[in-house]
Symmetry: none
DNA sequence: CATGAATGAGGATTCATTCAT
DNA sequence: GATGAATGAATCCTCATTCAT
């Protein structure tokens, strides 16, 4: 697939992301996605078999992009530094790419996600890198030995909640809030 | 409005909740809501002006019900006990009423929520009780003086993430996970 | 189902019959069927689940109507007279209802027919009355003992071919042709 | 036009014949015809100006092939022998080439045929050879002096009906049925 | 000649909403 | 109040055809 084709697929992704943010899955007809991407309606169907497949593939695309971004971390940092760094990268990424954030949130809480889960294993999206990072800290005795879902609920749950707060406009002084948040989490999970 | 009518409205709410859980906003036509509730399509329009209003009112209904449940707390308990109790009530309620949980999540991440926000103030759903509870702890010097959104992100964010984990099937041993989670949060936010 | 509803279903049938005659299955959109029947597009879907079902039910309807017409025969007639009478009724009916004839022909030679066959038994359309009539003649020793499909091929095959000839305009003096045709068939199948 | 090209045209014809048999005119997109024939979609348009032309030319092709086959008859045979021989050749050809048979049947009962009729005279497809054969018998006083359409209705009508019966699966013992059928026709049309 | 990506008009179907009963 | 048939705009998707390579 050459550059031209990739560009077209990217344009469709971008268009879908933007419009679904504004109008939701339901409020975004294929025709609108097409015209916003400057392609014909039929063209979308060369790249995606259906609207469902388009949305599903866009979700995978977002997850991969997000994971690529947040795990881009200096190996020389201490574990604690990494713990703060990765979390801040995630929050930064979502705040800088709110469309990605909201699309993914919308996807997770819709019936689409169930369809996906049956077919894909976690490594598909790079989700297991998070697990490895936590295991590293537990094995080194740096963080408490609690289950992966518990850590995820805390680490990711707080990050997404924070982004929502900021986006909803409930949270003006985000700088301070962010620092408090990750520090509280660190205090809670660190040993001693 | 007599019992008969309330029953009909309840039946429509229940039907909507169930079907939107299974098929999403988009996948749930009014006709299906009607037949599942054993009423005629037109009947829904006696109680709700439109599909949007039905969904929006159902959301308010769910929020009120949830808040009524979680703040039903013994005044004699210590602050720490209340901190654990309320959180567990919330998780319990969502796990026992998964349809409510997922409907609300779906609503929050959809364009519906934006429409709501413009019209309603937080007290409408009883949301300010949470704020009052946190302020009580801060004023008494029991928990750290961090912003309300930060506390919410942590407390509610972790609860909803936990419920998601359990629902997705990622989290088998939920009992232990729950206890770890609220304990970590407490450790993180308590003074000293 | 009251008269009003029956009328609407009849109007849709009539419209479908007319338009498919003119433009074929493919060339006849539902919207056109609807407007020609003076109903809304959606109304068709109250009576028929899909275009396929509409066409399939119309086929059954035509077959039943045709069989009702042709077997309306005086019991007092001799077998030979009935043999001529029924055949002429069939040809008359098709010539007077060319739309029915062509629709049925089109249906038989399309992939629709295969779908039908799997579900319906011959008696459904009244098709076994023909078989009974031939068996009557064979048992009485009036016509030769040849298989039912053979008799059908001859009796019905010649009738439909004749109607086609007339319709195509290949056959001007139809009166004489018809009489020759059924006489030849009779000569061929009668005993002695 | 060299062999390569002829092969490609043949491949397109073959592909069209197969797919239209399975899915009808409507259910057979050009793209499917192309991929089944191992050519690009655009390639079809080098050989045929449109889908209509492709189908129309395929019809002519089938008619010519069929007529070439059935009139390949020994001159030394008696008229009666030829009468039986040609009919059996026709039935054999259709049974051995059911796709041709059903395509042609479908074409005849569709609006395509009307388009054709306006442009082509009967001799185009070799249809007048049948007429000549019947006239030969009439002039020699061997068969009854009935009109051409009458004879065609009988001779061809019975043949196609028989093929349909066999294809539909209504007719198991085809050998006996065939012999009965052509014998009955002969008895009906022969003089005395 | 051959390709197949791109087009966009057109078609089947759905569904929120209305309204006569 | 309650019904559910009727509406028709809106949506997803298809597919004949074109054209740059």
């Amino acid at each position: 697939m050459n550059v031209q084709l990739l560009n077209k697929k990217e344009a469709i992704f971008e268009s879908t992301l933007t419009l679904i943010n504004e109008n939701g899955f339901h409020g975004t007809p294929m025709s609108q996605i097409a015209s916003h991407a400057n392609v014909a309606t039929g063209t979308i169907y060369h790249y995606f078999a259906s609207k469902d497949e388009l949305i599903t593939e866009l979700f995978a695309h977002c997850r991969v992009k997000t994971n690529e971004h947040i795990f881009n971390v200096e190996e020389s940092l201490s574990y604690k530094e990494k713990f703060f760094y990765i979390w801040n990268r995630l929050v930064d990424y979502y705040l800088a790419n709110k469309k990605v954030f909201w699309f993914v949130e919308q996807f997770y809480s819709s019936p689409y996600y169930e369809l996906i889960q049956q077919k894909k294993n976690p490594s598909y999206y790079g989700a297991d890198r998070m697990r490895m990072f936590f295991e590293e800290g537990i094995n080194a005795g740096i963080i408490r030995n609690v289950s992966f879902p518990t850590l995820i609920s805390l680490y990711i749950g707080a990050a997404t909640s924070h982004v929502k707060m900021v986006t909803y406009g409930f949270c003006k002084a985000q700088k301070q809030g962010r620092e408090d948040l990750i520090e509280i989490i660190w205090n809670g999970v660190k040993n001693q």
